[in-house]
Symmetry: C2
Amino acid sequence: MSLIEPRTLKGFRDYLPEVMIPRERCMELARQVFRLYGFAPIDTPALEYLEVLTGKGSEETDRQLYRFEDHGGRQVGMRFDLTVPLARFTAQHLAQLGLPFRRYHIAPVWRGENTQAGRYREFMQCDFDTIGTSSVASDIETVLVIHELLLTLGFSRFSIRINSRQILQGLLQLWGTAEQSTAVLRALDKLAKVGEAKVREELQQASLNDSQIQSVLELAALQGNDPDVLRALDRLADGQEQALAGIERLSTILNAARRCGVTAERLRIDVSIARGLDYYTGVVFETMLDDLPNIGSICSGGRYDNLAGLYTREHLPGVGASLGLDRLLAAMEQLGMLPPVRTPAPVFVAYFDAEQLTDYLQLASAVRAAGIGAELYPEPKKLGQQLKYADHRGFVVGLIAGSRELEQGIVQVKNLRHKIGTEVAWRPGDNEALLHAIRNQLQLDSHIASDS
Amino acid sequence: MSLIEPRTLKGFRDYLPEVMIPRERCMELARQVFRLYGFAPIDTPALEYLEVLTGKGSEETDRQLYRFEDHGGRQVGMRFDLTVPLARFTAQHLAQLGLPFRRYHIAPVWRGENTQAGRYREFMQCDFDTIGTSSVASDIETVLVIHELLLTLGFSRFSIRINSRQILQGLLQLWGTAEQSTAVLRALDKLAKVGEAKVREELQQASLNDSQIQSVLELAALQGNDPDVLRALDRLADGQEQALAGIERLSTILNAARRCGVTAERLRIDVSIARGLDYYTGVVFETMLDDLPNIGSICSGGRYDNLAGLYTREHLPGVGASLGLDRLLAAMEQLGMLPPVRTPAPVFVAYFDAEQLTDYLQLASAVRAAGIGAELYPEPKKLGQQLKYADHRGFVVGLIAGSRELEQGIVQVKNLRHKIGTEVAWRPGDNEALLHAIRNQLQLDSHIASDS
């Protein structure tokens, strides 16, 4: 019989244990943080009616949509983000959900994009939102969640950059440049990268006059500590009502976050941030890693005015953000934060003698009963072969006992990474010395790992 | 603008928080158990090349397959189970994975089936397998994992039913009924339900002679404790080699599982179990809940000879099982094991005075810093409205303090379910009395809940 070539579809990838273990751990830590702040999990189908999905993102997302006819002749599509499904979901279940509604949603999405430059057609999104309130309290809590997510995931050097579409809109009104907002926002984003001359040129091409260009450049160049930037914004706003309201709100958010323990290094105003989507109307966020600025924002979001206007006449303001899981894992790998293990269990139990299988099973059971993961090698092969396997997987501790040792009530507890071992007394039911030695080795390993 | 009707695609469903919270909890507990036994997580794409998926299950799964042409003109399909992707995955990455390989995979699959009788076209599968070994140790550990899964998920009254395709194959050989195996296996399954007369009739229609029918009925009627059943099987086997080997192996599994703490009530031989697929060649399992026998098996699986013969010439025996997550959750609901909550956080913080927002934020932060989930109501609305909201969500404890109480350093800690409260001293940073009172209320609640 001829074989089928085992291969993943172009643009898609498998996750092997060494990648899936940290990926799953990140998702679990994110869930813990979301729950701590009262966000509830939801899930929606991978497939939606095509009319629910098309025309909601951009022309690009429409083109990238995986779409087909299902068994009942319905036009369907695979979701390309979690925001459109959230809008449909919230409109559909509003009465049962009640407002305000806080949800998180961690699930794969699909886009038939160009696969160059390490982009994949299936990726995990990790979103959290507070819907049904315009309160500044929710803006602040969104900042606190991002802050806690990063800390919980093991990052200490990061900065949440915050800005306000409300201030930008107000200034655009004030300057009479509302029509050219796209060019202005692009200028804000590009000043640091391409320099003043290039930005000035682009703004001229967008038909801004000299005074307008001067104002935009003044805004784009704003930096320094938050009180200084707020004061400078206040001057720029020149009494424009919307801008002033935005400045006051931003100030409230910053002050409250400080009082809740978010340092000035980890949260600061960045006037260059506008976020691509027209969707945002209030505060907007991006999050940069100090050690990997080029990797881009790993958690972005903001406040929007109306989540689900396409599906319901109910006005649903909200605020939320999305954790970039793939980017985050790439960063963790680059920063050496991922241990190279292929097993979620730290303990390996070698197996020598089929006659004493029950002893080995009980040995493994004793470790597991203490909440420590253990794998029993399934066949009584040579020790060298078993240890080679254990090494490939990346176990920390090996439990080694031949039939004679088992009869004598002895087990060797060996640190497989540092090749040091100790013998302990063990018989089924008498597990104290064994567990003590294992815990010692696991601690020793984490000490040595954090020293290096 | 006319609205789009917000609706889920026919055959699909949304998961609201009250359903998603326990669903996510079950998946997390399952992952914990898998990891404890050294199973590693993997993930594979939702979409595969069509040739990988077709002709692997049955005519039915082929018909139910969601298939289409992707943007590059490739014929693709959505996975209908996790076994075919596992086979493709293992064949593709064999060198990197190494053997034996233990993996779990929790992910959605799609089948365009008839949607009658509460069946859905998207459902979660939860599989674990040990690949690359024929060892009985892996059969035993599969039983131990099923046992630990059920206990961890909160079930105490269940039974894992075990049987052996090896014994069945041996007996079919011995009786000269290998050709009529489908009819024989169906007879074993149906005796208890339809009675002897009906089964006898069906076996006659399948051209079995009287002596063959007599043997099949004798096998089908076998029950009692395991040693008795094993002795009876031994007599029936009449020296047939394959059957005897199967009986010895089954006996080894049962003895070892007993020694590892699995009681006779929770694991027993059931000769009526054969599992539908031709795929299984050794031990087979089903798991029934004593209190809900009609719900069917909630964890099924078995040993197979060759996982990935379509994709590689490498012979890959294995053993595994699949936890029926949807069925399990339906059972938990029927058995009253699911608390009716719509929030993952137990504590609700009421918010009265916009002037003191920072105090409320710090109050919520203090609770979260102790690892206890807390939601702050985002707007300073009337207490009645906030408590109604808290009641709808199902919070356990409410923290209530007006501006005067905050100035005096007092917070009311109220059990929202039992309507009892206590006042404690609290100021930012001085959290001891507050946390003590919250923990007391949470304990009180779980006591009352377990009493009722």
